[in-house]
């Protein structure tokens, strides 16, 4: 489930699209909204319900459907990544894209993820949150800098939200 909180949504910016996706027998009506700031949080399927990530933005084009799924593209974003329901790290990037269907979170443009326990930071060009493994796939000039060790540059690394587990794709942990 994804919950959407729209703050400062300017009046008249929401419009009905009446888009039809899929076949005639499966119609989904979508709405879009341009918003100046807001927050979106994604939760996992398992019970108890745990937060996976949350994203906040300065401007966004949101698309959400009647079945409660929502998402969209955002600019100037920041947010939190969770591990086992607890905040594990914070991120910021120039752009964000939240995938409604699969809970993916894509970040791009000067992505930075940082943790405080232990202190560390990840820098890269783009990030994909993998909902199956609940890990981050970091792409492009990936550096991870912790107190005791630094990794990089790599084209791609798979990293846990708390930056405590770091691997190349071939040795990444299997699905959760």
């Amino acid at each position: 489930m994804i919950s959407v909180v729209l703050a400062s949504c300017a009046p008249g910016t929401s419009k009905r699209l009446s888009e039809i996706t899929g076949t005639e027998t499966k119609k989904t009506v979508l709405e879009s909204a341009q918003t100046s700031s807001g927050e979106l949080t994604s939760y996992g399927d398992r019970v108890p319900r745990r937060a996976l990530w949350s994203i906040r933005w300065k401007t966004a084009e949101l698309v959400y459907s009647q079945d409660g799924k929502a998402g969209g593209s955002m600019t100037d974003v920041e947010g939190d990544l969770f591990a086992n329901g607890k905040k594990a790290s914070r991120f910021r990037a120039q752009r964000g894209l939240a995938s409604v269907k699969n809970r993916n979170l894509n970040l791009s443009g000067g992505v930075t993820i940082e943790t405080s326990d232990p202190p560390g930071t990840l820098n890269c060009e783009s990030v994909v949150w993998n909902p199956d493994t609940e890990t981050i796939e970091a792409h492009g000039k990936v550096y991870v800098t912790m107190e005791t060790i630094q990794f990089g540059p790599f084209d791609k690394l798979v990293v846990s939200p708390d930056l405590k587990e770091i691997s190349t794709p071939g040795l990444a942990s299997p699905k959760k």
Binding site: S37, S116, Q150, T168, A172
Partner: protein
């Protein structure tokens, strides 16, 4: 929006060496030329690490150790201001470990190397101990001291002195080798504290060949014990012919010269000391 970068992030970046890179070595890369790795940060600044290579190369300056291998699995630690160090690790696949220690000649700035090759080794950083359950070869090369040692065996364990420390005899504080031990020790002949000169007035080289079942070296005691079908031969002032015995003990001087050879077993127990008896002069 209250996201802010904490000031320590900049400090962390400055303080950390680049430890991992898949491409060519940079001056501060500790692991490089590998295919895959997985790291897990543990409590106390330790890092559980798996690295798969082609081969892996590593340069761990705080342990004066370089390695090549196909697989590294272990726990690393970095003390403040130091390079990454092995706490304990199993290293396998064409392992080549090169360890550097000061020369036993004690000439300032000169080093000796110990090269250990095996299919699989374990390394314990706290005791600087390398162990191999399988065939192992050990090559010591001390140019400044004009000494080399080449040993091979079915298995073995070498404990080295701390980085930056060697005795005048050896970089090893102890050495245990078992099964089909073969060795060659070379050096310069010394008599009454002075190098023996050959016909061209150059220091005379010595060579001692050995085979045995087990070898035990204890640097503190200055003693190397060879046991089980021991054969000793070569060109050395202390060797008056070939030795064939159950056990041979080599006693080394403070400076690493063979001072005494104690032979036990057939045909008789014999002790050879540095000064040969008058009848043999």
């Amino acid at each position: 929006m209250n996201f802010r970068f904490l000031p320590w992030i900049g400090l962390v970046i400055l303080a950390s060496a680049i430890a991992f890179a898949q491409q060519a070595q940079r001056s501060n890369n500790e692991f490089y030329f590998f295919d895959e790795f997985k790291a897990k940060l543990l409590a106390g600044g330790k890092i559980q690490l798996s690295v798969v290579g082609k081969p892996i190369k590593a340069d761990l300056k705080s342990q004066a150790l370089k390695l090549e291998a196909l697989l590294f699995e272990g726990v690393m630690v970095r003390t403040k201001g130091q390079s990454l160090a092995i706490n304990a690790a199993t290293i396998s696949g064409n392992v080549n470990l090169t360890i550097s220690r000061p020369s036993s000649s004690k000439i300032a700035g000169s080093n000796q190397t110990v090269e250990i090759q095996s299919a699989k080794i374990s390394y314990v950083g706290a005791t600087n101990t390398v162990a191999s359950q399988g065939a192992v070869s050990i090559e010591r090369n001390d140019v400044s001291a004009s000494e080399t040692m080449s040993l091979s065996a079915g298995s073995g364990e070498a404990r080295l002195f701390e980085p930056g420390i060697s005795s005048a005899r050896s970089p090893f504080s102890s050495l245990h080798l078992d099964g089909g031990v073969k060795g060659i020790l070379t050096g310069v002949a010394i008599e009454e504290g002075k190098p023996v000169l050959d016909s061209s007035q150059k220091p005379k080289k010595t060579i001692v060949n050995l085979t045995c079942t087990t070898l035990r070296y204890d640097d503190h005691a200055g003693k190397m014990t060879l046991s089980g079908n021991v054969k000793l031969w070569g060109d050395h002032p202390m060797l008056f012919g070939n030795i064939d015995a159950k056990q041979v003990v080599l006693i080394f001087s403070e400076l690493g010269e063979i001072d005494e050879i104690i032979v036990t077993g057939e045909p008789a127990s014999t002790t050879i000391t540095r000064k040969p008896p008058p009848a043999r002069k």
